[in-house]
Symmetry: none
Subunit: 220 residues, 2 copies
Amino acid sequence: MKILIVDDEKDILEFLSYNLQKEGFEIFTASNGSTALKIAKKEVPNLIILDVMMPEMDGIETCEKIREIEALDSTLILFLTARSEEYSELAGFSAGADDYVTKPIKPKLLISRVNALLRRSQSKKAQSFIEIEELKIDKDKHLLLHKGQVVDLARKEFNLLYYLMTVPAKVFTREEIISNVWKDTFVGDRTIDVHIRKIREKIGDKYIKTIKGVGYKFDV
Amino acid sequence: MKILIVDDEKDILEFLSYNLQKEGFEIFTASNGSTALKIAKKEVPNLIILDVMMPEMDGIETCEKIREIEALDSTLILFLTARSEEYSELAGFSAGADDYVTKPIKPKLLISRVNALLRRSQSKKAQSFIEIEELKIDKDKHLLLHKGQVVDLARKEFNLLYYLMTVPAKVFTREEIISNVWKDTFVGDRTIDVHIRKIREKIGDKYIKTIKGVGYKFDV
DNA sequence: CTGTATGTTAAAAAATTGTTAACTTTTAAT
DNA sequence: ATTAAAAGTTAACAATTTTTTAACATACAG
């Protein structure tokens, strides 16, 4: 794994190089934005650690330039910021950063963040919504759209439908449904049926199918 | 751009004033921490350059006091340190500094760092407001406009609304809200409800939606 | 047909949120 | 430093919605 570290302060470059090299990463360094761009183009690192604060071309600007280079499309960018800013305010994210660490840098924390980032990039980023035919269900927004119309579902109804939709066409037994949607509370079988009915009332009968003697499945 | 320079040595004050004035900044000076606080409160400078080593109230202490003043929330602080300290040990960052420069001061370096800092704060400012339909909320100005009219929100109300608006349509759980708006103080669920109610009183019911069993979301 | 599984309904029970007012803390002004 | 005003928090309870159950109806496989 190649990591490019960009900072105008030699102390920090050495400090980070030392700590990351110890972890077995291949380290490149640059002390300003334009050098960083050159090295990045040549080496195509997996991760670039960028100091936000640099004279001339600062981290944000460098980040934006990097994001314009197609070859560096899957390169991760981690920012070093001086003071902890609120996540949602951090300008770096809009410039295309993937994570940030605040100074003063604790080597252990940095290393775990670097590893987490690289691990995460291996697996695809999970989408928060599932879209099947005329139905779109979004867990983050807790929103169900049916033919573009918002459908109001209570929490259990929502969770149940979402669960069925996670694996379309698979039949879920009531047992599976209870242990996944209700977790550790016990409910009778009829309870599930009632919820299914309420969902059907709201989105129509065609989506949820009953497999007699087995359970329910979401299917189109 | 207003810059407040704080140092107990007159020579340095003059030296820095001269160099920064030449760059077109509006300069204020103070020779000790308590004077600095008074001037800072009155002038609300964009940047404060603080000498770490001062008799009585030192730079670190002054910095902490400044950080407690809400009006100076977006004021940047740059430290002057006498000798290069081990980077990871620099106490200034934990006190809320944004950057530091080591003595002896090279005017060119200082100016480029000052410019980099101010540029950063500008780009932060550029994305400090969110506008959705008839609502415009500006974090820096702590200002909410509803149909072009100013709406007075208390601080917590403001922060809560701003937080919800950062990701429109996403449902935030009370847990998320508490850890982001209240940070590390514990409050009961009812407290959030009360704040939500007060916001609704001021901007109407249509914007903040309750997702029963989940949380609240901002949606149009 | 018959027995079992599922559908349906309404009502009870439980959970969640809304609201008010009292109280505490913070902030700003003197 | 004192004090008044504003902001923030909480408890108590009301209102609302969700969830569950029980009872009974219906469907369907064999």
